[in-house]
Symmetry: C2
Subunit: 397 residues, 2 copies
Amino acid sequence: MAIATRAERQTYADRFEEELFAQVLPFWERHSPDRIHGGFYNNLDRDGSVYDTTKHIWLLARQVWMFSKLYRSHEARPVWLALARLGMDFLRTHAVRPNGQVYFCLAQDGKPIYQQRKTFTECFYVMALAEYGRAADQPGLVQEAKSALELLWTRSYDWSTVGRPALAGSPPSQALAIPMMLLNVLDEVMADELKSCMREVEDCIRRITLHVNAADQLVYEHVTPEGGRLPGPTGRLINPGHAIEAGWFLQHLAQRLGRADVSRMALDMVRWSHRRGWDAEHDGLYYFLDSEAHAPVQLEWSMKLWWPHCEALYAHLLNYAVSGEAADWAAFNAVEQYTFAHFPDASHGEWFGYLDREGRRTHRFKGGPYKGCFHVPRALWLCLRLLKQWPAGRPAP
Amino acid sequence: MAIATRAERQTYADRFEEELFAQVLPFWERHSPDRIHGGFYNNLDRDGSVYDTTKHIWLLARQVWMFSKLYRSHEARPVWLALARLGMDFLRTHAVRPNGQVYFCLAQDGKPIYQQRKTFTECFYVMALAEYGRAADQPGLVQEAKSALELLWTRSYDWSTVGRPALAGSPPSQALAIPMMLLNVLDEVMADELKSCMREVEDCIRRITLHVNAADQLVYEHVTPEGGRLPGPTGRLINPGHAIEAGWFLQHLAQRLGRADVSRMALDMVRWSHRRGWDAEHDGLYYFLDSEAHAPVQLEWSMKLWWPHCEALYAHLLNYAVSGEAADWAAFNAVEQYTFAHFPDASHGEWFGYLDREGRRTHRFKGGPYKGCFHVPRALWLCLRLLKQWPAGRPAP
């Protein structure tokens, strides 16, 4: 396995830059804005036409976050800030309830359709609020996002029944999704002031660590509140893309806080999840696996989805930047090859989202209830940023 | 296309009898009973071993119904009644709450894990109660089942928000699942006294009819309470197996009540759903389709599941017994060939449940949270009963 040369890194940077700015972002800039009711359409067919006018708030909030982030971190293009404002105005007018809850989806005119019990919608909204507030230079919005954190914290652990089984037969459990989401929210919302909430950060790290099983070299999606194994398929569930995403969340934090222990664990989470999650026969990352090689009960377990590949693309590159080990570079290359061979759509921009195990497209849409302007541009932007600011002293500089 | 000969029908009857009594039922008789805590295990691996001790009440109730039905309608084998009792005792001890609600799943010792808002669990329990009460000659249980019907009726339409959108942006809608389920419950529970609740029966027929669109020759899964089209993917959703199952439910009713109009509609529901639902390239019935050829948002849309094929097997045979038309016989033959080539497991009995679009097995388990001792034995038993009691005057008697 080779070590990356500067020329190789430049080749990747050029490819990601072209893909992000000529193929992916234009798709959303062109097709998603709703100039009549405000906000964005997120259910977009292959060619960008709207096949469902329902507005899913996870995706609207993530799109506001993405354009705000690009405006602040890449280039202050007025069109990006204007798009972020179009989304944020719609969210604030229609999606937020007086009690702080945020609707899961709205009709195109903003009338509410559905309210989820889970708090992920609120998490994405608060991240959008903070990033937009900074981009638009509205510190009041950033303050509002910070104030929302406390409520979010309580509510997130409330619905997951951590330590408090709702019914007598249900063993106490915790899901990786929650501490990992909250860590990302803390990191994004608190930004430079992260050190002021280290108690919460340490709690997230502690909870995530419970899912990381060194003996099995696996990251379990659900464990007991003490980190023990849960019975049945729930306890055996592996979600490689999720564990890989949690890995780079933690690595960011480890680098910022100078925590070598967390950095080592984050490297392992990505490597183990790739090793177990990669399909040796047909390539690509499985969506779900069972740790004891049963077939997971999820019908879609063997499908290859765009987002685990987006997460893996960045996570392996980051691993390599941190470790300098050839195996991390090789994993990045394998993911990059599979991803660019299967997901992009040169004809209409953005990426396809769903393949069967053999890599054939099963769905033609570019945006759906869980796919929007988020995973693809975030991964390409993160990779690009890392390749351009390659850490000094790292291999083959 | 050929018309069925008596010899062909006998060949099928022999195959179904062998499959039902030598392969399918022994699997459940052998592997599902929990002699320690009572009830059945339903999460059984390929070889019958228990991979999850959670007991899913849909499936426990359906298994009680199935063994009670076979005891009453096929042969009074004491072992079948004893199995039905093992299940029913467990359900009555652990699954039923004082307010009449029934838990969705329990731990192996009967402790509750989860309560669904939907009423399907209650529907399957009430059907089991009536059938077991008749098999065990306990008229009190049958009466209890009849008394539960009224509450079930109100609650079923309550959660579906028919005519009463919970939130302003959600258009009023109704799901085919509910009137179709309630019609089946009425038919099973009231049995010979069905005529005493014709108001409810007619209401079910009326509601099902709203989903049947003659202009499009399609059965829509979700419509407005007036039978209009709903916007978006929800309004375009086609579930061929579901529509085919509703077709034979209605055909049974049409034959019992002598309703030629309902019989004609039921024939069409099965034929249209087969025509639209059959995969011309790889054979088999799709799980979900979009009426305008978008990819359905359901990730598993192109998979081939055992249960739509079970429903289609019986529905086409019933269509042919009613109509005598060669096309119905041809459809039955096509489904039978695909089904027997893909789902049975000669090594361990019962059928596999899940295939990808190309017909490759994706899951090895025989029982899961939604697959138990129900669709396979019900379809084989219904086909066998029809083939043995072939209506006089029907083609090639």
